[in-house]
């Protein structure tokens, strides 16, 4: 096709054969070898595709590349530090905050964005912030617990 766009993904410059109107989710999954972000609806409604762009969590399935040129994109693949899981990832595992797991990548990105801005969110704040992410298995209560647990760890408090 001849079109080429440069993106900043997980700290690296990546070049893709895609146009400004192509959506970020497909590029991440199919072109950049980052299949952690998932397709759930293509409408920006379910949050399975959630990534972080310049610190704000956003739905990559409806995000055209033109909107992210020059911006720092982070996906679920950026959370772990080598073999070491992030506090949120660890909390989701320990609290078993998942059933089929399909929504978890999106949940982690939305929650990461929250905890980077709010170190001590109330339960109400967590639910409101996470409202854009659907878990059809309805594992919500454990996810709230996991987010609270991670926040505690990140504040340096013991569980």
């Amino acid at each position: 096709m001849g079109q080429s766009i440069e993106l900043l993904v997980n700290g690296s410059k990546r070049s893709v054969n895609a146009g400004p109107d192509d959506f970020l989710l497909e590029i991440l999954r199919d072109d950049l070898g980052l299949p952690g972000s998932k397709f759930g609806c293509g409408e920006g409604e379910c949050g399975a595709c959630t990534v972080i762009v310049d610190g704000a969590h956003t739905k990559s399935c409806i995000l055209p590349l033109s909107a992210v040129e020059g911006k720092a994109i982070r996906t679920v693949e950026s959370l772990a530090n080598g073999e070491t899981l992030s506090p949120l990832q660890d909390a989701f595992v320990e609290e078993d905050a998942m059933q089929c797991g399909y929504c978890v990548s999106g949940m982690l990105m939305a929650a990461t964005a929250l905890l980077e801005k709010n170190k001590n969110p109330s339960e109400r704040e967590i639910r409101d912030h996470m409202r854009g992410n659907i878990c059809r298995c309805c594992a919500y209560p454990r996810m709230v617990k996991a987010i609270q647990r991670a926040a505690k760890t990140m504040r340096g408090e013991k569980s």
């Binding site: 959506f23 497909e26 199919d30 998932k38 797991g101 996470m130 059809r136 298995c137």
Partner: protein, 683 residues
């Protein structure tokens, strides 16, 4: 390569050298499940080798035709093997849902994994353990009773002289034709060391790092992305299609076979672009809308005009539920690979062997030339019994001779997948002055027979199910018709209680003989504080109970309801659940809580709207499902762990009581009796 040879070749690579049992699967008829019993098909082998293999590294590989769809079967089954084999959960590897490698299985539905598959693989594991002990006993020159197995090793109970054998060493000598006896002693629940524990999901790490491979994550060299041309209306027939613009796009291939027209391209975005260029004409047939649903479901059946039997209090009522969608977050998808002789399909389905038959039939090839592999899947809830995406991907792959990935869009999910059946219940019932039931005449139109039979004591109940000519494709759903039958019954019981001037709890207790159901009901009422407090203004308390697939559930809820504002909020919910001996309390609770919250969707929001063959709300933005903000502030979930009873499944039952509990609470709060799902005030 036939299924037989490929399995043997794999085992050779594993280094076990065990003979492969010849699996003799039969073709299962393709039909939607959920209408009662499943046809038995296929031979289930009892050779140990078909189920369990211990490798040179000491890892126990177990083969099961069950699949993981989020209900935690993988972890629970691993625990059950670890228990009987006396190894750690980490050293058990489950191979699930691979039709080449796993023994025939009807499908993962009906809450059968725990009561049927788990004992099967426990018997296999126990047989392996005993065989290893016997082998060790021979080598050590002692009685088997002098030895014990622990953590993958066999050693002496007392007076160890250092002699011990690892499973890996001993496994080489397991007779290749060893048969699992039909009677095998299994570890009783009171002695469980691994079962009964809250083990976290064995795939947890893969899931949180985004490295777990769902169907759509599979990539094969030379793979094409495919899209199927869909009609704008259900049941429409393709009259003509102009693909000339699509054919001009470089890399785009077209597959056409009657009504079936698909495009395939090296990228999904190119396939999308190609699809949009196709101009097509379809012949539509007029179809009804959901506004006409009740009449359609009752069919030509005239409402009963016969006089009701005499009773102190009589109730004549009709209840209704719409079609609802499963909305699995992973849309159905398949990656199909035709290599010239064999079709391999990765797909998320609850019936790998059934889908193998569907694919074979669609392609006109024998079943042993089809292999279906089910990766741990992004949920099903009863909605992924059929192989729709698998058949489509397979057809395209065979036509093009290339691997093909096909994923349904969310709109395709809402339109072309089958729904939970809509239903109408006509009821006439009566109560005596003392609160006992006098008569019970109950007819369910279309929704189904699951949960049809009332657990309440009454003489000569008349309980009928009548199939209707459904305007939409329908099939299995979590707990099937039990969701609606419990709504109708538990609402009616509440109405009768009110008519008798009796407390709804006391009225039920008076008419219940089932001890396990009574236990969950009374425990839930106790936890909630039923009868102890009065609700605040604008709030009400409601309860309901039910049983399904060997499980028992009760919900007591507090709702805040405002008829004028048309608002209902569930403020508090108590759930008590019992299913015999709990295999994994963490996952059991997750399934129960998940069922209850998912059930809130069917109770309060969910409804498929349709007109003239179109699903008019078939988008995530138009079909509301429960979100974080819908979860009750206070959620109390109690599992009654009955170690004295056999373990039943826990994936379905807990969804059945929440809708009537909420409906009953709405009545208590507002005096408004709602008999249709979803529960909403008519404005």
């Amino acid at each position: 390569m036939s299924a037989f040879l490929s399995r043997r070749a794999l085992l050779k690579r594993l280094g076990g050298g065990l003979l492969v049992a010849v699996l003799g699967p039969r073709v299962l008829a393709q039909r939607e499940s959920g209408r009662g019993g499943q046809r038995q098909g296929g031979n289930v082998p009892q050779n140990l080798a078909a189920w369990l293999h211990i490798g040179a590294d000491g890892v126990a590989t177990v083969y099961t035709g069950k699949v993981e769809v989020g209900q935690n079967a993988r972890t629970a089954l691993s625990q059950s093997v670890a228990e009987e084999l006396c190894v750690s959960v980490a050293s058990v590897k489950m191979v699930m849902g691979d039709t080449d490698l796993c023994p025939f299985d009807q499908g993962t539905f009906g809450s059968r994994t725990t009561p049927a598959m788990m004992p099967q693989i426990r018997r296999a594991a126990a047989t392996a353990r005993e065989t290893l002990l016997e082998l060790a006993a021979k080598k050590m020159g002692v009685e088997r009773s002098a030895l014990r197995a622990e953590n993958g090793k066999v050693f002496r109970l007392i007076g160890s002289n250092g002699a011990e054998f690892s499973y890996a060493e001993l496994a080489r000598e397991i007779p290749p034709d060893l048969v699992i006896p039909s009677e095998v002693k299994l570890t009783p629940a009171s002695e469980w060391k691994t079962m009964g524990k809250p083990t976290t999901k064995v795939t947890g790490r893969a899931i949180v790092t985004g490295t777990h491979g769902y169907t759509v994550d599979h990539k094969l060299p030379g793979m094409l992305y495919a899209k199927v041309l869909r009609p704008l209306a259900l049941k429409a027939e393709l009259v003509s299609a102009n693909t000339s613009e699509a054919e001009k796009l470089e890399g785009v291939r077209i597959v056409r076979d009657g009504n079936f027209l698909a495009v395939a391209a090296p990228t999904a975005r190119l396939a999308d672009k190609a699809l949009i260029t196709i101009k097509s004409d379809w012949k539509e047939t007029p179809q009804p809308s959901n506004k006409e649903l009740v009449g359609i479901l009752r069919g030509s059946e005239a409402p009963a005009t016969e006089a009701m039997p005499a009773a102190a209090k009589q109730l004549k009522a009709s209840y209704m539920c719409p079609f609802i969608a499963h909305v699995p977050l992973e849309p159905r998808a398949a990656v199909a690979d035709w290599d010239g002789k064999k079709m391999t399909v990765y797909t998320g389905t609850q019936r790998p062997f059934g889908v193998r038959g569907e694919v074979a039939q669609a392609l006109g090839i024998p079943e042993n030339q089809v292999r279906v592999i089910v990766p741990d899947t992004g949920s099903g809830y009863g909605g992924k019994h059929t192989g729709d995406a698998a058949v489509e991907a397979a057809r395209i792959s065979k036509a093009l001779g290339k691997p093909v990935k096909l994923m349904w869009t969310r709109n395709e999910e809402f339109t072309f997948a089958y729904f939970r059946p809509a239903g109408v219940v006509d009821l006439s019932a009566g109560a005596n002055a003392d609160g006992t039931l006098a008569f019970w005449n109950y007819t369910n139109f279309n929704s189904g027979g699951a949960g049809l039979n009332s657990p309440y004591a009454v003489e000569n109940p008349r309980q009928l199910f009548k199939q209707a000519d459904s305007p939409l494709r329908q099939g299995s759903y979590r707990a099937l018709a039990s969701t609606f039958n419990h709504f109708a019954r538990e609402t009616a019981m509440d109405e009768l209680a009110v008519a008798c001037g009796m407390d709804p709890l006391a009225f039920r207790v008076k008419n219940l003989r089932n001890e396990r159901l009574l236990a969950v009901l009374q425990a839930a009422a106790e936890k909630f504080g039923w009868g102890k407090t009065k609700p605040a203004e604008g709030r009400g308390y409601g309860l309901a109970c039910g049983m399904e697939k060997g499980g028992y559930v009760a919900n007591v809820v507090e709702v805040q309801a405002d008829k004028n504002a048309g608002q209902v909020r569930v403020m508090r919910c108590v759930t008590v659940f019992e299913c015999g001996a709990v295999v994994n309390p963490l996952h059991c609770e997750n399934q129960v809580v998940g069922s209850v919250i998912q059930g809130m969707g069917g109770a309060l929001f969910e409804e498929i709207e349709f007109e003239n063959g179109r699903i008019t709300n078939g988008w995530m933005s138009r079909y509301r499902v429960p979100r974080y903000t819908d979860v009750p502030q206070q959620l109390d979930t109690i599992l009654l762990d009955r170690k004295d009873l056999p373990s039943a499944g826990a994936g379905e039952c807990a969804i059945v009581a929440i809708a009537p509990a909420i409906g009953n609470a709405i009545f208590a709060a507002t005096g408004e009796r709602l008999r249709s799902l979803p529960l909403r005030f008519s404005t």
